[in-house]
């Protein structure tokens, strides 16, 4: 399976965010998005998820399921955790388990949240909410992970869990496309350096 983007262009609110972005990502590869705030990393991830329209260019998933959109084959973890404060941690994940498939209790255990199982999500700390949101990555079996600053408000131990999770996913032949300022110990294979509406796609050479 290979995700290929050619000359992607993004326009939001009448303003051109970026244009001419070309990159690829294949099974087992990790792509790191870097660039200053506002350069369009989030917009790019949302475009891959199918949430933001392509203003130009092509985005194809070779070898993917032709019945599904690219977005339906991705796990999108954006800035928002998509949790419902009145529902308990388990109820929140159980709902997504019914949507994505998978087991809510295993997902809770994966991020060390089992002891918070019956606590309403509204009472969790920012970091715990983040972990609960990221625990969705354990659910279902989606080949492409789109992570937008996943390490924000996570402590060191949780960052390690996240890093392990990303490595394991790549080890299984999954793709990880992440915008992050810490490598999380993940051996990214490629890097897309975004600057002034342009992007340079190259092999990963370590964090800038």
């Amino acid at each position: 399976m290979q995700l290929r983007a050619e000359n992607l262009e993004c326009v939001r609110g009448g303003r051109k965010v970026f244009s001419g972005l070309s990159f690829g990502c294949a099974d087992g590869e990790g792509l790191l998005l870097t660039g200053h705030n506002g350069c369009g990393k989030s917009s790019l991830l949302r475009q891959i998820a199918g949430l933001v329209r392509l203003a130009g260019g092509d985005l194809v998933l070779e070898g993917g399921d032709p019945e599904l959109t690219i977005g339906q084959q991705t796990h999108y973890a954006g800035h928002l955790d998509a949790l419902k404060p009145p529902l308990t941690a388990h109820e929140n994940l159980q709902f997504w388990a019914q949507i994505y498939g998978g087991d809510a209790d295993e997902a809770l255990a994966g991020f060390g949240l089992t002891h918070l199982r019956d606590i309403p999500a509204g009472l969790l700390s920012a970091g715990q909410k983040r972990r609960l949101g990221l625990a969705r990555l354990f659910l279902g079996n989606r080949p492409i992970w789109l992570l937008d600053e996943p390490s924000v408000s996570l402590d060191k131990a949780s960052c390690d869990v996240l890093g392990d999770l990303m490595r394991a996913h790549m080890g299984r032949g999954g793709m990880v496309i992440a915008a992050t300022h810490v490598t999380l110990g993940v051996a990214f294979t490629h890097q897309l350096e975004m600057h002034r509406g342009q992007g340079v796609f190259k092999r990963f050479e370590g964090m800038p």
Binding site: V52, G71, Y76, K84, P86, F95, I99
Partner: protein, 222 residues
């Protein structure tokens, strides 16, 4: 299909646990209906004559009040992003959420209406037809409202804007709802035709609304 039920049950559970939605709409319904006789005066004959119209207008206002809650919470906390990349087409997401919304706000209003009819001296013969018309008409109100709620997703304090957009669409439902009840009370026209038109309005809106609302949600996620 399990995703459809999961979404619907989650919304019902949220509405029950958070309170607000259904209870607030019914409370508003009660207040409007109990204030109106104070304005119109204690003339029982007059109240009895205008009761169907008053109840229907109060019902419309109560439904309007609850509309901006349908999609907004899911939009703000990112749930809609994930539902849009989920296995369920957005049109079905809209239908699941609409059904949950109807169960938690539309149905309580329909159940409250006959009780409030007593306050307005509603003709005893009109209680059953009144409830039937509201049962048939409230889904149309919810479905039409969903379009407005979806379009104004990105707007802060979109509630008023929803009312302005949706109220004109409610006019046919109001006319045929009140028409059917009045047909029973005063005759001579039969109850059937306006009631069937009301059902038709509900069915038409049930087809158009999910497509329109899903398109509006996509536009707002962009």
């Amino acid at each position: 299909m399990s995703a459809f039920w999961a979404l619907m049950m989650r919304d019902i559970r949220l509405a029950v646990r958070q309170g607000g939605g259904g209870g607030m709409a019914v409370g508003f319904f009660l207040i409007v209906v109990s204030i109106l006789p104070l304005g119109v005066g204690p003339d029982l004959n007059l109240l009895s004559r205008i009761a169907p119209g008053l109840l229907w207008v109060a019902l419309l206002l109560s439904v309007l009040l609850s509309l901006d809650r349908i999609f907004h919470a899911d939009y703000e906390d990112g749930t809609l992003d994930l539902l849009a990349t989920g296995p369920l087409p957005l049109q079905l997401v809209v239908i699941a959420k609409m059904l949950a919304h109807w169960v938690t706000t539309g149905l309580p209003l329909v159940i409250a209406a006959p009780v409030l009819g007593i306050l307005l001296n509603l003709d005893p013969a009109a209680f059953v037809p009144m409830t039937l018309t509201m049962l048939a008409g409230t889904p149309a109100l919810n479905f039409l409202g969903a379009i407005g709620a979806a379009i104004t997703l990105g707007v802060r304090r979109g509630g008023l804007l929803v009312s302005l957009m949706v109220m004109p669409l409610y006019v046919p439902v109001l006319i045929f709802g009140v028409g059917a009840v009045n047909a029973v009370i005063t005759g001579p026209a039969p109850f059937g035709p306006p009631f069937l038109v009301l059902i038709a309005l509900t069915l038409i809106s049930a087809v158009i609304s999910p497509v329109a609302a899903a398109a509006a949600i996509r536009m707002n996620l962009d």
